[in-house]
C-alpha cells in the first residue's frame, strides 16, 4: 500500500505515536506519582522531593494506615456493601430484564413497564425528598440505606434486555417443550449465553458500589459506619479546608502526605487489580449496548 510510505506520512506517524503515548502517560502519571509518594520516607514526601520514583523506599505509611482502626472499619463496610449491593443489583437486573425482553404479545403491557422504568432515568424527586424518604423509613445508619435506593439499575436492565433480544428464540422454545419454566429459561439458557454482558454489568455494579461515597456521607451519622470512599472524602475535606491562600504557603497540612497517599492508593488498588481482567469484556459490552444498527 503506497499511502503508508510517503515521507510526510512517516513523519506524521512517528509524531502521532509519540503524541498518543504522551497523552496516555498524562492519564496515569499522576497515579504513579501518588504511589511513589506513598512509598517514600516522610521527610522526602513532605519536602516534595518525590517524582515518579519513591525516595527512601519504605512501607511505613501503609502500616500506619492499616493500623488505623477507622480505616479498617471503613474498608469492611465497603466490602459488605459491595457484596450485598452487587448481588441485589444483579438479581433484580436479571429478574426484570427477562420479562421485559419479551414481545408485547407474550407479555401484555410490557411497554408500560419499560416506560415506568425509563422514566426514572429522566426524572427524579431530587436530593431532599430522597433523603426524607430514607430517613422516614428509618434506614439511616443502616447498610440498607446504601444498597436499596440504588438496587434497581435502570441502565443495566436496558443493556441486558437489549442483549437478551438478540438471542435466538428457538432455544427458549426448546426449553419450554422440555417442560422448563421461565426461571429455567432465564437461568439455564439466557444468562449463560449472556456472559459478556453479565460480566460487564458485574464490573459496573462493583465499581459503582466501591466508588460511591455520597450516600455514605448523607445517610450515615456515625463515622465508623462510613464506607471507605466516604471516610476518605471526609479526611480529604479536612485537609482541603486548610487550603486557603495563606495556608497553601505553609506546609503544615502536608506533614502527613505519605499517609494520605497510601490511603488513597489503597482505595484505588482493588480497581487496579480487577480492571485489566475485565477490560476486554466491558469494551465489548459498551459498544454492544450503545452502538446499534
Amino acid at each position: 500500500m503506497d499511502r503508508y510510505h510517503s515521507n510526510t506520512y512517516r513523519l506524521f506517524y512517528l509524531l502521532n505515536i509519540m503524541f498518543v503515548i504522551g497523552i496516555a502517560a498524562v492519564c496515569v502519571l499522576p497515579l504513579v506519582h501518588l504511589m511513589a509518594v506513598s512509598l517514600s520516607e516522610k521527610g522526602a514526601a513532605n519536602a516534595n522531593l518525590v517524582g515518579l520514583w519513591p525516595v527512601g523506599f519504605n512501607v511505613s505509611a501503609y502500616r500506619e494506615a492499616l493500623a488505623n482502626e477507622k480505616f479498617y472499619d471503613a474498608f469492611i463496610v465497603t466490602i459488605k456493601r459491595l457484596l450485598l449491593g452487587t448481588s441485589v443489583n444483579m438479581l433484580l437486573t436479571f429478574l426484570m430484564a427477562y420479562p421485559l425482553s419479551k414481545e408485547e404479545r407474550a407479555f401484555p403491557y410490557r411497554n408500560v413497564y419499560v416506560w415506568l422504568i425509563v422514566f426514572t432515568m429522566l426524572f427524579s424527586g431530587g436530593l431532599i425528598p430522597g433523603y426524607m424518604l430514607v430517613s422516614q423509613l428509618h434506614l439511616i445508619d443502616s447498610i440498607w440505606a446504601l444498597v436499596l435506593p440504588a438496587a434497581v439499575q435502570t441502565f443495566h436492565i436496558i443493556l441486558l434486555l437489549n442483549f437478551f433480544r438478540q438471542l435466538p428464540k428457538e432455544m427458549e422454545e426448546a426449553c419450554y417443550i422440555d417442560g422448563g419454566g421461565h426461571f429455567t429459561a432465564l437461568f439455564k439458557i439466557y444468562l449463560p449465553l449472556s456472559m459478556p454482558a453479565v460480566a460487564t454489568l458485574i464490573l459496573f455494579s462493583m465499581v459503582m458500589h466501591w466508588n460511591e461515597w455520597f450516600s455514605g456521607l448523607i445517610y450515615m451519622n456515625k463515622v465508623d459506619l462510613y464506607p471507605l470512599q466516604t471516610y476518605l472524602q471526609a479526611l480529604l475535606d479536612q485537609t482541603k479546608k486548610a487550603i486557603t491562600i495563606d495556608d497553601a504557603r505553609h506546609a503544615a497540612e502536608a506533614s502527613r502526605r505519605s499517609l494520605y497517599s497510601a490511603q488513597i492508593f489503597m482505595a484505588m488498588a482493588p480497581i487496579l487489580v480487577v480492571y485489566p481482567l475485565l477490560q476486554k469484556h466491558f469494551t465489548k459490552g459498551i459498544v454492544m449496548g450503545s452502538v446499534k444498527e
Binding site: 497523552i23 499522576p30 476518605l232 491562600i245 484505588m268 480497581i271 480492571y275
Partner: protein
C-alpha cells in the same frame, strides 16, 4: 411476577420521592411530616427567583456543562482518529488501557490526587510551569481558573472512555470506501475528510444530541470534591447549592424547589433531545 420485587423497590425509591416534591410547596418541618407541615404555595419559587445566588448557580451550571459537553465531544473524536492510525496493536492496546483507567476511579480519589498535583506548594503542575517561567497558580482557589480546571480535569478523566464508542464506529467503516478514495487520488487528509468523518458523523451527532439532556448536570461529584468557599462565585452549581441549602442549612422547602426546577428543565431537555435522536439518528433505547 418476576418483575414484582424490582418494581416494588422502584416505586418506593423512585416514585415515592417524586411525591415528596410536595415539600417544595410547604414550609416543611420534619417532625410534623408531609401532612402536618404548613402549605406555602409558590413562596419558595418566588424566593428562589429573587435570590442573588440563583443567577450565579444557574450560569455556573450552564457554563461548566456546556464547556464539558463541547470538549467532551471533540477530544475523544480526535483521539480516536489518531489512535486509529496506529498499527502496532500492542501500543494501541496499552494506550487504550491507560486512557480508560481514570474513568473507573471515584472523584474522591481523583480529588485527592488533583489537590496534590495542582497545589501551590510544590504541586507537580506548578513545578513544571515554574521551569517554563510561569506561575505559580492557585488552581483550586482562584475563581478565574476554577471552571477551566473543572472542565480540563473532567475531560482528562472521561475522554478515554468515550473513545471506545468512536473507535468502534471507526472500525465499522467499510474499507472498500478507502480503496475507492485512493483510486480517485485522495491523499490521507482527503480520506479522513471524505470517508472517515462522514463515517462517524452520525454517532457524533447522536452523542451530542443525547448530551444536551444532561446540560444541567455539571458534575456534582467532581465539583464537591474540588471546590471550596473561595471559588463559590464561579464554581457553585445547582446540585452543590441544593446540598448545602437543603442538608446543611436545612432549608428543605427551598432546596427542594430549586431541585424540582432543575429536574423539570432536565426532563424537558432530555425529552426533546431523545425525540431528536430518534427522529434524526433513528436511535431507540430499547
Amino acid at each position: 411476577m418476576m418483575l414484582l420485587p424490582g418494581m416494588a423497590l422502584l416505586v418506593i425509591f423512585q416514585y415515592v420521592p417524586m411525591a415528596g416534591i410536595v415539600i417544595a410547596f410547604q414550609d416543611f418541618v420534619p417532625t410534623k411530616g408531609f401532612f402536618g407541615s404548613e402549605w406555602v404555595g409558590l413562596q419558595h419559587f418566588e424566593f428562589m427567583m429573587n435570590l442573588p445566588d440563583t443567577a450565579t448557580i444557574v450560569i455556573n451550571t450552564l457554563v461548566i456543562a456546556v464547556m464539558k459537553i463541547v470538549l467532551g465531544l471533540i477530544v475523544p473524536v480526535l483521539f480516536a482518529l489518531l489512535l486509529n492510525e496506529i498499527r502496532q496493536q500492542g501500543v494501541k492496546r496499552t494506550v487504550q488501557t491507560m486512557v480508560y483507567f481514570p474513568h473507573f476511579l471515584s472523584w474522591v480519589i481523583l480529588g485527592g490526587i488533583l489537590v496534590d498535583v495542582l497545589s501551590m506548594n510544590g504541586g507537580a503542575v506548578n513545578r513544571i510551569l515554574g521551569w517554563l517561567g510561569i506561575g505559580p497558580y492557585f488552581f483550586l482557589g482562584d475563581p478565574g481558573l476554577f471552571r477551566g480546571v473543572i472542565v480540563v480535569t473532567d475531560v482528562w478523566k472521561e475522554f478515554g472512555f468515550s473513545t471506545i464508542i468512536y473507535l468502534a464506529a471507526l472500525s465499522g467503516i467499510n474499507p472498500v470506501l478507502y480503496e475507492a478514495a485512493v483510486m480517485d487520488g485522495a491523499n490521507r487528509w482527503k480520506q479522513v475528510w471524505h470517508v472517515t468523518l462522514p463515517g462517524i458523523a452520525p454517532i457524533v451527532v447522536l452523542m451530542a444530541t443525547l448530551s444536551i439532556g444532561g446540560i444541567l448536570n455539571a458534575g456534582f461529584d467532581q465539583i464537591f470534591n474540588l471546590y471550596s468557599p473561595l471559588v463559590y462565585k464561579t464554581g457553585d452549581i445547582i446540585d452543590t447549592w441544593v446540598y448545602r441549602a437543603g442538608l446543611l442549612d436545612m432549608q428543605y422547602g427551598l432546596a427542594t424547589a430549586v431541585g424540582l426546577f432543575k429536574s423539570v428543565v432536565g426532563l424537558v431537555l432530555i425529552s426533546v433531545s431523545y425525540w431528536a435522536a430518534s427522529r434524526f439518528a433513528n436511535y431507540r433505547i430499547f
